[in-house]
Amino acid sequence: MMRLRIYYPVIAGVLVIVTLHLVLAAADATYYMTQITMSAYYALVVIGLCLLMGYAGQISLGHAGFFAIGGYTVAVLTTYNLATHRSAPLVARCHSLGLLVEWQDLYGREILSFSPWVAFGAALLLTAIIALVIGMPVIRLKGHYLAMATLGFGLIVYRIALGTPILGQADGISNVPPFPLFDGLQVNGRAPFRVQNYYIAWTVVLTAVVLSLNLVHSRVGRALRSIHENEEAAHSLGVNTYRYKLAVFILSALFAAIGGALLTHYNGSVGPSEATVMKSVRYVAVVAVGGMANLWGVLLMGVLLNFLSLRGVFGTFDDAVFGGILIGMMILAPQGLLRASGVRAIVSRLAGRSHG
């Protein structure tokens, strides 16, 4: 079945993930799983960006902004203490609807805040609305202009995060509670939850990959690629290019926001460093080095490079490494490094067949 062939790498991916767990457990090095989990959430951003950049051919230098919007929204809603406003009609109404939860923070304070599910839903809704409002004018732009406009958006989000008291300014927001999913599973960064969070993160990431794979192999995926190749021709064949570009922009923003929201619960905090322009540049660099229109390449590079970065391998050159990767990619392989056509060319050359 043609339709099922696209899922073979998913099975391979599951095997790699389980094997990695067993190897780390045998080597008594499960602490690595913490950074792998974090890298997986960052990889969610580049999967979305891969759809936007690699398939639809539209750049965004503002995706750290969407990641931060997801993270900050859940952080504010789950930590803002409503206990003193308990009797206010709106708060009481939310409480009776089950939208609020009572819990104790690390210092034993009683906190009444929005439940993580409500916060998560609100984060997605807010991200979708912002992506729509920003995207409507911006996605009409092309090339450098689109890059600059999205860059501007990223800068604005960073400045808002840095300047707004309720967002914790330079300190960000800490004390974010875990996110209980179901059956005792929870997004929680503490050591006893390490293994289950490794699998939770990978479940989310592989789900995103499967949805994305389905999309790129569908009618919509073909339309997105046709926009990338020649927008005027695509338009003349009945593809509503503006609507498709906008939709994939919002979709990629949602992927970024999910990554941001879950990583915030996992870390228990979020700070303005998540919203910096260098983070956006990093995501673009990962998509480029992963092969642009290559979901698996982008996922692999996203996890690998973020893992190395989180382990501190690049030291103080962290941002420089990603900037360097981007420069190198643009000079040496502007089409992306891990690329299906490149791989095909190598395979056919090895098979002794030349392409005319």
Binding site: L215, R219, N230, E232, A233, H235, L237, G238, L251, H355
Partner: protein
Amino acid sequence: MDNVLLATKNLHRSFGGVHAVCDVTFNVPPGAIKAVIGPNGAGKTTLFNLIAGTLTPHQGEVLFRGRRITGRKPHAVAAMGIARTFQTTKLFGHMTVLENVMVGRHARTRSGFIAGMLNLPWTWREDRQTRDKAMAILENLDLTSYAPETASNLPFGRQRLVEFARALATEPTLLLLDEPAAGLNIYETQELAELIQRIRDRGITCLIVEHDMSLVMNISDEVVVLDQGKQIAEGPPAAIQRNPDVIRIYLGDDHA
């Protein structure tokens, strides 16, 4: 309106001070092959862009099957049944020939983002039908063997045919062909003439912008002549060939 498929009424479009298309009015009857000719810069491609929705006219209107389509976006115009090819072929170069033609089915299929992401079974069926239809069109144009090839690897003449296939995949009522013979040799041009007639015989009306006079005079039922944006003649090919104004713009005053 039975004998008019497409009508332009006093179409006008200027770029800065240049009147690219100025007061152009003509009808295209259904089932006809109609040609628009004129020297370089006469406004032929601009005229096509006005019909296809790529440009909006400053004055005048375009009627398709009696309905005003002026100002509609190209994707909406395509969905109504107007397909086009481009002066310089605009294939999706990194996609296969088959995929190129499958994109042509876009307006006739409907699975969207959500259905696509969830890979719903009915989208499989739809995709299979899209593939079958695309293959049938390729077969009709003798392109079957090229189906899995990357489009940009094809020789130029074949690329042009793929663009035809892609346009036909939209199931158009009216096909706009912008200089289909440009860059083709005389044999390929002859094949093209037969192809256009075959397309017309299947009930698809053709409006052609063309430089190649022998092609135009051979296959067209009617010809419109533009010069510097203005319509200077309209009529059957034989009459156009004798028209002194047409001879003057093509050959100069001495020959009129």
